[in-house]
């Protein structure tokens, strides 16, 4: 395996491509998400997206914020060669909601909010609260792992260049 620091920088584009692909899938092919797991059908773009265009000498960054923000600016940025570098997502399962932001280059999670859990009032409540929170975090971690695994399988197959790139291009330029 490559040196970790070298691998981080050399392949950080993979994370940005992953987030860009994910936006494309959520927008165009919710059935694909449903096939991975019926629960993933309700994955939505959240209230924040950051795109960066590194093709020019100076990095151009576009941030779109707001609960009902118009993502047309993001599509325009993609047209000019940008990729999604940070994406806020919302997962709804029955009456529960998770919100979190993934950063492409690191796959780090931030602003990660789970459905509310019971209050911790005594020392005995702590163990239960930790296990419950861990379970709730794990729902999203498993979702990301499943999505990333599927993305990387496609990305390392001929299907990527033959079909996926064309479909993403059509989506951006329609």
């Amino acid at each position: 395996m490559l040196d970790v620091a070298v691998a981080y920088n050399r392949f950080k584009f993979l994370g940005d491509e992953f987030l860009t692909w994910l936006w494309f899938v959520i927008d165009n092919d919710p059935e694909y998400l449903k096939k991975l797991s019926p629960e993933y059908a309700d994955l939505e773009i959240g209230n924040r997206m950051v795109l960066e265009n590194r093709k020019q000498q100076a990095v151009e960054s576009i941030t779109i914020k707001g609960d009902d923000a118009n993502l047309a600016e993001g599509i325009l940025a993609l047209r000019k060669g940008a990729f999604v570098t940070e994406l806020n997502l919302c997962l709804k399962l029955k009456d529960q909601e998770w919100r979190f932001t993934i950063k492409g280059e690191s796959l780090n999670l931030s602003g990660f909010k789970t459905p509310s859990t019971g209050p911790v009032e005594t020392a005995e409540d702590v163990a239960g609260a930790v296990i419950e929170k861990a379970y709730l975090y794990d729902q999203v971690i498993q979702l990301i792992d499943t999505l990333f695994k599927n993305f990387i399988k496609i990305r390392t197959s001929y299907h990527w260049q033959d079909q996926v790139v064309s479909m993403i291009k059509n989506w951006i330029h329609r």
Partner: protein
Amino acid sequence: MGLLSSSVSITRYNVQGDLEKPVIETVAAALKKNSISEIDDHTSEITTGWTSFDNPYQPNFEGASFVFGTYLVFSLRIDKKSIPAKTIQKYYNIEMAQKLKESGREFLSKNEKKMIKDHVINLLSLRIPATPNIYDVLWNYEEASLWFFSNLKAANEEFESLFSKSMKLSLIRLFPYTSAQLTAGLSDSELDILAKLTPAKFTE
């Protein structure tokens, strides 16, 4: 932003290697050996160590108190004294004026100035309490998976260094390439393709 906070940040790691059995006792001993030590009455400006998740100001790793179901849960504590630069400058000037008066000289050598500055910092360090920062760790030993509850670069680096020193295990941060390598279940041929990938173009 602790594990039970309403909003958290998580950096994920893969833990490589096995601990000596019994694992709980080995982890307890490693945490105890590298637990946080107080520096409020010392001249040290910074200290790092493990502490208990549920009692971060009185670390205690006895009786598997850090085991929650299938998880090992503990915290990294970084105590740091932040002495304002202007405070250092004030006492440095006072000390320097006194030294000049005592010696009857008009100037001090570079070495003498440095000694005065170090002396001032040491004195102030004894008087200023350290500010603790606590970062939770949730480790699923069986799954070789670990979540560190911060994305801060400095905190992650301190964590990686102390974890490796304490547990004698190697930690691999899960970012796109390492996730693809370690957790995506790629075949050898897919891994070969992965190593040669170049950025895609969606522009026409």
